[in-house]
């Protein structure tokens, strides 16, 4: 074999290994998702045969319809989750953007130390917070209410929002604000008319993070909900471990609950990836 052929062979082998690696990656990542999609459109009979009878002729909407129509089920919990997630997100954005702006721009003494303390709170496992919060909320009769959930969710959403926004506010050139002030704008006017309009992308990114985190939250919801404000994750978990589980409906419910978040993650992936590289790697 000549030197050239050996070299070409080696390159071919290397390319082959990378393609093989990508295929393994695709199968590993996609197989559970594909099975989720298939399960949600297969009838119960096909799912409980061994092996499962994956025949496109059997595809049906019955699982999905069943989950959506069932009076008790998913629809109520969608409303609860939407209320809690939207309220948490708006409060976190309102409070967090003002605080982040103040720390990034208005030279609050000790602002950076404050931000580190805010970050440090994220080290605490939820169980540390929720034991006293449960006692306080049950004294205030706020167990099983939207307010109770929103209050607790702010504990992990607000710090993240503050960190994302502070990083962005620091990157705005100070000249822009100075120009606004020379034109006679007050601090609040500068913030509202100059800084906020520039900050829509990071506000969106922070909002998406906040929404996804509150929509998916399960641990606090298990502890703080009883019957009135069951959120989507609680409903999903109730499908499992039922005496007679309809696997198709269980998986259809899990799929439907995940769709809003997956769609948001894909639409806003640029911001999420930006958040990763800016916030996580450099911060």
């Amino acid at each position: 074999m000549s030197e050239g052929t050996r070299r070409r062979l080696r390159l071919l082998l290397r390319d082959g290994a990378i393609v093989a690696g990508l295929i393994v990656f695709l199968v590993w990542t996609l197989a559970p998702i594909v099975w989720m999609l298939l399960t949600s459109v297969l009838p119960h009979r096909a799912l409980i045969s061994r092996p499962p009878d994956v025949d496109p002729a059997l595809f049906t909407w019955k699982n999905i319809q069943g989950v959506m129509e069932d009076r008790s089920a998913l629809v109520d919990s969608f409303v609860n989750s939407a209320i809690v997630a939207v309220a948490t997100t708006s409060l976190a954005l309102a409070l967090g953007s003002l605080a982040a702006y103040a720390i990034a721009r208005l030279s609050v003494p000790g602002g950076n130390k404050l931000m580190l303390m805010v970050l440090a709170t994220q080290m605490f496992p939820g169980i540390v917070l929720i034991i006293p919060m449960f006692i306080v909320l049950s004294r205030a009769r706020l167990i099983d209410t939207h307010i109770g959930l929103v209050v607790v969710y702010l504990s992990f959403v607000l710090p993240v929002v503050m960190w994302i926004l502070k990083g962005f506010f620091e990157s705005i050139p100070a000249e822009i604000e100075r120009a606004a002030m020379v034109d006679g704008a007050s601090t609040m006017q500068t913030y509202r008319l100059v800084v906020l309009p520039m900050s829509l992308p990071p506000l969106f990114a922070a909002g998406v993070f906040a929404f996804i985190e509150s929509w998916n939250e399960f641990f606090y919801a298990v502890i703080l909900t009883r019957t009135n404000v069951k959120t989507v994750p609680i409903r999903i978990s109730e499908f499992s471990g039922q005496y007679r589980t309809s696997f198709g409906e269980m998986i259809a419910a899990a799929m439907i609950a995940s769709i809003p978040v997956i769609v948001m993650a894909i639409i806003f992936r640029k911001y999420i990836l930006l958040g990763f590289s800016e916030g996580a790697v450099k911060g």
Partner: protein
Amino acid sequence: MTEFRSVPTLADRRRRMGYLLVTPAMLVLVLVVLVPILRSIVYSFQRVRPEGGRFQANWVWFDNYRFMGSDPAVRRALRNTVFFTVGEVVLVIGIALGVALLLDHPFGRFGAFRIILLIPWAIAPVANAVLWEWILNGSYGVLNAVLLRLGLISHYKIWLGDANLALRMVLLADVWKSVPFIALLLLAGLQNIPRYLYRAAKLDGANAWQRFRFVTLPSLRTPLTLAIILQTIWAIKVFDLIYVLTKGGPGDRTLMANFLAYRVTFNYLDFGYGAALANAIFLAMLILSIIYIKVLKPGAPRSRQAP
């Protein structure tokens, strides 16, 4: 004599405004984070039980912490948590690094790959748990069907009911869900490595392994440290999967620290002991993070752009 009235300067006014804007957020964080943390330290030295609809608290000082030493559930939870955390960190970081390297290669730079990677990350943790409960089902699960077809097992296995397999299966489900985030984190780190470093290493005659070992890995030190710390914390905190898949069973073989603290507090209603366990979990995470930082010494990350 004329009195000087001090006129607030612009800087004064901005600082005053700053205080005003910071206060609401800080007030909320004090109320929902700081106060509860302090309360739970106090509770851990008390016996706190709901009696007749009211919470009664009595000081027992170190009794809760002393009881941990003799509680067999704590020992089981500790063993399971250590196994799970080590397995999770090693597998997730290893697989995620592989995925990140693949997606950084010219063949892997299709946007579609990154979108695919986002899906397991975005799926609600509970939806993920339910999905794996179905995949691992002992009677109709697709894992059984596939492995049987491939001849790797001779009969259907009850994955989650088997004392020796259950924890590994929970680990599998959690690794699948956790790889994407860490892979994206490491991918962002890879893309920050200046290409000229590779060209320089090539000129110096470094082969592919040497380039990985002496250029890629050192440049990834900060994101890798972050990934290891985050993944450790998440592994110790795992709850949703245990709650849906096994509730700690069979026979406490998948009982983990966080689930134990939950069970003690909200099933056995022993709030004081639960708080003590919760604080012990926090201490363990804190100590591990400090050790990681001391050992791995993350530096200031290199940036592609000029500062």
